[in-house]
Structures are given as C-alpha cells and as structure tokens.
C-alpha cells in the first residue's frame, strides 16, 4: 500500500480510530492491532511477501530467546550465525541471486569461457533490505547483551513489521523502537499535530518535488546522447532532488504517521544538500542506514583506529557494502566506491569531522555546499544509470560542454509547464530547508498556515499520475 494512495487514505484513519478509540489504554490490543494492520499494509502488495517477513520474525524471536538463556560463548556465536545466515540468506537469495549468477557468467565470458546457468524468476519482496537490517539489529544487540530479548512475540512482530517504516525505513534499532511497544502510549495533541504536518511536508516532497522532477529525469537518463550538456546538467540536478524528495519524503511521512500512534522514530535526513563536505553529507543522508553500518560493521572492523591502511580498508568496505545494499547492480557498487574516494582524502587529512552538523554556517560554507552538492550529483549519475557504461557516457556528454542549450525544457508548452513546476518546487524546498538549517533544526517545523499552504500546493502542483512508486521500495 502506498502512502500516496486512496487505499491508504482509508486505511490510516481506520487504524487510528481503532487504536485510540476502541483499544484506548489497552496496550496489548493496540500492539495486536498494529501487527494486523502492518500485515495488511504489507500484504497489500503481494500476500506471498508475508511468508518471508513472518519467517524472519520467528527466526529472530526464537534466536534471541535462546541467546537470553545461555552465556556459553560458542553457543551464542552459533545462534548469531544462524540468525545472520537465515536473514542474509533470504536477502541474498531474493535480492542478489540473479545478479551473482549473471555476473559470474559475464566474468567467465569476458575471458572467453562460455558458461550456462539459469537465473530464476524471483520477485524482490518490497523493503526486504530494510526489515532484514531491523531484525538483525535486534539479534546483534541481544548477542552483545546490549538489550534483553523480549518474551512477547506480538511486541517483537509489531516492531519488525511496524507499517509506517516497514518498507523504506528509517531502519530502526531494536533498542530504540522495541521498548516503545512495552509502554502505555497516551495521546499527545502537539505530537499528533506535528505528525500531521510532517506527513504533509513529506507528501509535498514526494508528489510535488520528486514526481515532477521524475518527468525530465526519466526522459534524459533514457537517452542521454540526445541531449545537450546543459540539459544533462539539469537532468542530473533534478535526479538529486527526485531521489531526495522521494526518499526523505517517505521518511518524513513515516515519522509523522508514527507520531500519530505515539511512537518516536529516528530522524533519517537532516537537510543533506546543505553539507559542506562528503563526510557531513553522510551524517545527514539516510542516517539510519549509515549509523547501522557504523555500529554493526565499521566499529566491529576497528573503525578509525589502527594504521592508515587499516582505516582506508574499513572505509572502503563500509561504502562498498552500502552501495551493494542498495541494489543488485554494479552501478550501486561504483556509487559506493565514488563516495569512498571522495571521503578518503578527508579522512587522510584528518578533516572528516571539521563540519559537524552542530557547527554554524559562514559565508564561505555556501561555496563548500555548492561543491559538495556537485560531487553528490555526479555520484547520483552512477546511482541512476542502468549500467556503469551508461553512467560514464552520461558524464562524458555532460563534460563535453558542446552545447549548453536547454531547449528540451521549453520545446513544448507541456515541457515548459512541467519544468516551471519542477523548478518552483525545488526552489520552495531549498529555501525552506535553508531556513531550517540556519536555525539548526533536526526536523521540519511547519506552522498551521504553512501546512494549509502545502496542502494547496500539493493539489495544484502535485504529479499524481500512476502513483509513482517510492524509489527506495526496490531496495
């Protein structure tokens, strides 16, 4: 079920009504309701997907219980390995099997050896990477004795499947979200109003910014050779805003919806396009994933301790794994590599922490923001292109600077109209976020009047055709 669909418009008030009016002050019943609602929400795509998430839930629930019963190191490790193998095995099979098979065949064929192997017709379950990482965080935390295993299967299953963030995050830590299922939740007016405003803001980002930009992005990336350097530049910038509006819009809506039910989710984006270097970008972009990698891979690997080579290795691993997490395509790996290469100089010169989010902005910082944004945009070309060759071709045409013409955007009246809408939407988003960045806010703060204005903008400027899927669902 998509957040921007009619079904969800009926689903959300129904669950809200049952939650606060029928099951008010009944913690267990509320959790059961959230679990059932989450299964309906997820099964709406394809009921067969439910079997996987239920299997993953059972696996980690029982593994954690067993972990809680033993202090024998070998047994604990064995249990952790079962959980990792089960979860990552499912993820690997459904997301990466075909990729590995075809990459294997291609690798051999490049040295002249022809191999035959069949790929499978596998449907990628929506959001599998998100809930797999969420359940894994639970088992690993229990293994590390950082939290106690829960005895309530319902609470755990509701945590794994919590519908607002199930398919595209934020990837919640068990230690943050799970305890919220144990406590009685009381309705808080201000919290709920803030939630609604976040939902509206997220919807604006999705249907006004992202979906309008998508019109030109799809056209340009489909056949970059046909466009001028100027058009390719705009296409690249529009994709940056498309993916940001799409993904952070979903996160805002997820956080907002959770607030309606008395839950607090972690902030996933802190205005990343106002970063002054790549290190800061990764402190602001998809925070739930980057901190997951930091806590469960980077630090266990040694983090920034040890020799310089050791640090470089860890950084490379973390960025490559992050790229690979996004999808079964070498383009994502190259995207990760690109970011690693942009990050490493900062690490080597020990300036990777010179732009902490809390640090105020000076005038020079705006030049740094521009450069960082450009670097991020170049990375997005790899992320968006169908193949690495396509990405290089795109960039080659872009930097040829043969023509800076922008005729695509005014070739027809329809194009001019969509371009104007997209540019206006990007402008509104950027100006508003600039204000919040300067005020050092973590989350958008919108007045009641602003919310009403946004509702009207969504109506007037929204692109609703075919209810475009959120890009990150595929991951």
């Amino acid at each position: 079920m998509l957040f921007n669909s009619i079904e969800f418009l009926l689903f959300l008030p129904t669950v809200f009504f049952l939650y606060w009016f029928v099951f008010k002050n009944q913690l267990r019943a509320q959790n059961v309701l959230l679990l059932v609602a989450s299964y309906i929400f997820y099964g709406w795509w394809d009921w067969r997907f439910l079997s996987l998430i239920i299997a993953s839930t059972f696996l980690d629930y029982f593994i954690a219980i067993q972990l809680g019963k033993t202090d024998v190191s070998k047994k604990r490790k064995f249990l952790l390995v079962i959980s990792l193998a089960g979860n990552l095995g499912m993820l690997g099979f459904f997301k990466y099997y075909n990729f590995f098979v075809s990459s294997w065949i291609e690798a051999w064929s490049s040295v002249g050896i022809t191999m035959e192997a069949s790929t499978l017709n596998i449907i990628l379950p929506v959001g599998i990477s998100f809930y797999t990482f969420q359940t894994l965080s639970y088992t690993i935390d229990v293994y590390r004795k950082e939290m106690q295993p829960t005895k309530s299967f319902i609470d755990f299953a509701a945590f794994v499947t919590f519908f607002p963030q199930l398919v595209a995050g934020p990837i919640e830590r068990a230690s943050h979200l799970l305890p919220q299922f144990y406590k009685n939740r009381t309705f808080d007016y201000q919290n709920a109003v803030d939630g609604v405003k976040l939902i509206i803001w997220g919807m604006f980002k999705k249907v006004v910014v992202a979906d309008n930009c998508a019109f030109f992005v799809n056209k340009i990336f489909e056949n970059p050779e046909a466009y001028s350097s100027g058009e390719l530049f705009v296409g690249m910038v529009f994709f940056a805003f498309q993916i940001y509006g799409d993904f952070s819009g979903y996160s805002d809506m997820a956080i907002g919806i959770s607030k309606l039910f008395g839950f607090d989710l972690m902030v996933n984006f802190k205005f990343p396009y106002f970063s002054r270097d790549i290190a800061e970008f990764w402190r602001r972009w998809h925070i739930s994933l980057s901190t997951w990698f930091r806590d469960y891979i980077y630090i266990p690997l040694g983090g920034s301790k040890g020799t310089q080579w050791f640090q470089i290795r860890n950084v490379m691993i973390i960025f490559l794994v992050s790229g690979f997490w996004h999808g079964a395509n070498w383009t994502y790996v190259v995207w990760g590599l690109f970011h690693a290469l942009m990050f490493l100089p900062l690490l080597l010169f020990n300036v990777n922490r010179s732009h902490l989010i809390t640090k105020s902005y000076g005038w020079l910082d705006f030049a740094k923001i521009g450069v960082t944004f450009l670097v991020v945009c170049i990375g997005w070309v790899f992320f968006r292109a169908d193949s690495i060759a396509d990405a290089f071709q795109y960039l080659a045409h872009l930097f040829e600077l043969k023509s800076l013409g922008l005729s695509l955007f005014y070739k027809t009246n329809a194009n001019l109209m969509i371009f104007a809408l997209s540019a206006l939407a990007v402008g509104i988003l950027s100006m508003q976020e600039l204000v919040w960045v300067i005020k050092k806010r973590d989350l958008p703060k919108i007045s009641a009047f602003g919310a009403l204005l946004l509702v009207l903008l969504i109506f007037f400027m929204g692109s609703f055709k075919n209810q475009m899927d959120f890009i990150y669902f595929q991951f």
Partner: protein, 292 residues
C-alpha cells in the same frame, strides 16, 4: 483528542473546499471547449448529419482520408483517436447518438483493437470532465474498478488523469489554444519516416468476441446505421499475420483490407500508413464500398 480532531477537521475542510472549488473551476472550463480534442467535440456538439463517420484507433485516424470521401460528395469526419480501444470507440458512438446525430455509414477499424476489452487511460481521461454531464458516460464507466472514486471524490478524476485533463490541459483550454486534432476533418496524415521500425510481432495477440464491438453493432442496428467494419494495412514484415484470419473466423462480416497497400514506402511505421499510403487505402475503400 478533541482538539486534534478539530485540527484534522480544519485540514479536511480546506481540502474538501479546495477540491470542490477546483473541480468546479476545471469542469466549467472544459465544458466550454469543443475544439481541442475529438471527445469534447462530440460531447459539446449540436445535432449533426454525416454520410460517413470513421471510428477506431490511430490506425483509423491516420488511414482514412476524409477529404477523399468529401470529394465523392460524402460528408465525412474521422473520429479515430490514437490509443483508443473499442471501449472508448463504443462510447463515442453512444454519445453521437445521444446528441441526435444522423449518421448514414459508420466505418469502424476492427483489427488489432479486437484483442482488448479494457479501457485506454489516455483516451479515458479525456472523458473525465464530462463524467457528471452525461448519463451515457456515467453508465459506460460504471463497471470500472475506480468508478466510485472518480465519480464521487471531488477533483480526483483530474488528479488521476492529469496528463490529459490536468493543469496544463485546463490552462490551454482556458486560453482557447487551438490544436490540429480537428483539422482535415479529423484525419491526421503521417509523413514518411526513414528511421521507422518496419517490422512487428503480433503473434501474442488474440482477437476476442469483443463486447464493445458487439455494442457498436447493436447501436448501429437500432439506429439504422450502415456499419462497415474493416481491417487496415500492416507492413509486410509482420510476424503473426494469422491474427487476421482469426478475426475473419470470429467476425465474417469484417472486411479484409490488411493487404491492400504493399510496400514500405507507403508506411510511416509498421502499423501506420503514411499520407501516400492512406490515400491509396482510402481510395480502395471508397471504390469497393461506396461506388459499387
């Protein structure tokens, strides 16, 4: 909670008022227009008399040269619409009848479109502004899965089909910006395209006993209209031409014209004749069906 419900109520109220207002504004503007596309041209029309009306997809729109019929003294208009399915073709005919059009002959392109009973969103969207205006449209769309939302939720129809009846279309309609859709009495000539892909594969298509073609037959019979159902040409490099034999087996009354124009120089793409080809094809149709 009460305070929150009031807050939500205010937002819903603003939303509803905006939706009703926008729905009203959009509908009013579209209701005034009759020259920007064929759907509104029929819906906002007064009673008309025609010797020949042509219906179908782009393979009707680009293949039947109205001018050649007119030269024979036959008042003709080509209402073929690119992308349209028989679902919309049948509705167009119903609307003409509802508006008391007097039609002697209807030529319906019935070939590849027989394989489909679903709606075409692009054409379907053009009917949206008139959903409440015509009972015929309402009844025709009633069985669609999203009918309730489209009919009852204000402005939803414009959101859902914004490519055809969204802000851009509304704005152009408001400015009364002309289109060339109705030029040449509805016929849209295609040029020669040297880069065109002159092959096609229609092996997977299967003609159906199409309920909307059945509807068209019934309407014509009830209104004493001479129905001429024809197939139209394809280029020579098509896999699955047996499709047309299946059409013939299913509907013996459909006249076979898929082979009457031969040679890639007469085609703009494999499924569409260029102007030169269309003139040959139309001349043959007139010769066979209107002169003999």
């Amino acid at each position: 909670m009460k305070q929150f419900l009031v807050f939500i109520g205010k937002i819903v109220l603003v939303l509803l008022l905006s939706a009703f207002a926008l729905d009203f504004i959009y509908t009013t503007v579209f209701a005034q227009s009759e020259a920007r596309n064929k759907v509104e041209n029929v819906i906002n029309s007064k009673p008309q008399d025609y010797d020949v009306i042509i219906l179908g997809t782009s393979r009707a729109n680009n293949h039947f040269v109205s001018e050649l019929f007119e030269k024979e003294g036959l008042k003709t208009f080509n209402y073929g619409m690119s992308g349209a399915h028989l679902f919309e073709t049948s509705l167009m005919l119903k609307l003409m009848i509802e508006r008391n059009w007097e039609i002697k002959n209807i030529i319906v392109e019935t070939d590849l479109n027989l394989s489909n009973e679903k709606r075409d969103d692009g054409t379907f969207g053009r009917f949206m502004p008139f959903l409440h205006k015509s009972e015929t449209i309402t009844n025709h769309f009633k069985k669609e899965a999203d009918f309730t939302e489209l009919y009852y939720v204000p402005f939803y129809r414009y959101i859902q089909f914004d490519e055809k009846v969204g802000f851009r279309a509304w704005y152009k309609t408001l400015l009364n910006e002309p289109t060339n859709t109705l030029a040449n009495n509805g016929y849209y000539p295609l040029g020669h395209n040297p880069k065109a892909n002159m092959k096609n594969n229609i092996e997977k298509l299967k003609p159906l006993r199409n309920r909307y073609f059945e509807e068209i037959k019934q309407i014509c019979k009830a209104n004493h209209i001479n129905l001429i159902a024809v197939t139209t040409p394809m280029c020579s490099n098509v896999k699955g031409m047996e499709y047309f034999k299946k059409v013939k087996a299913l509907y013996p009354e459909i006249k076979e014209y898929e082979h009457v124009v031969d040679g890639d120089e007469y085609f703009s793409s494999c499924g569409h004749l260029n102007d030169k080809g269309a003139r040959l094809y139309t001349a043959k149709i007139i010769e066979d069906l209107f002169k003999k």
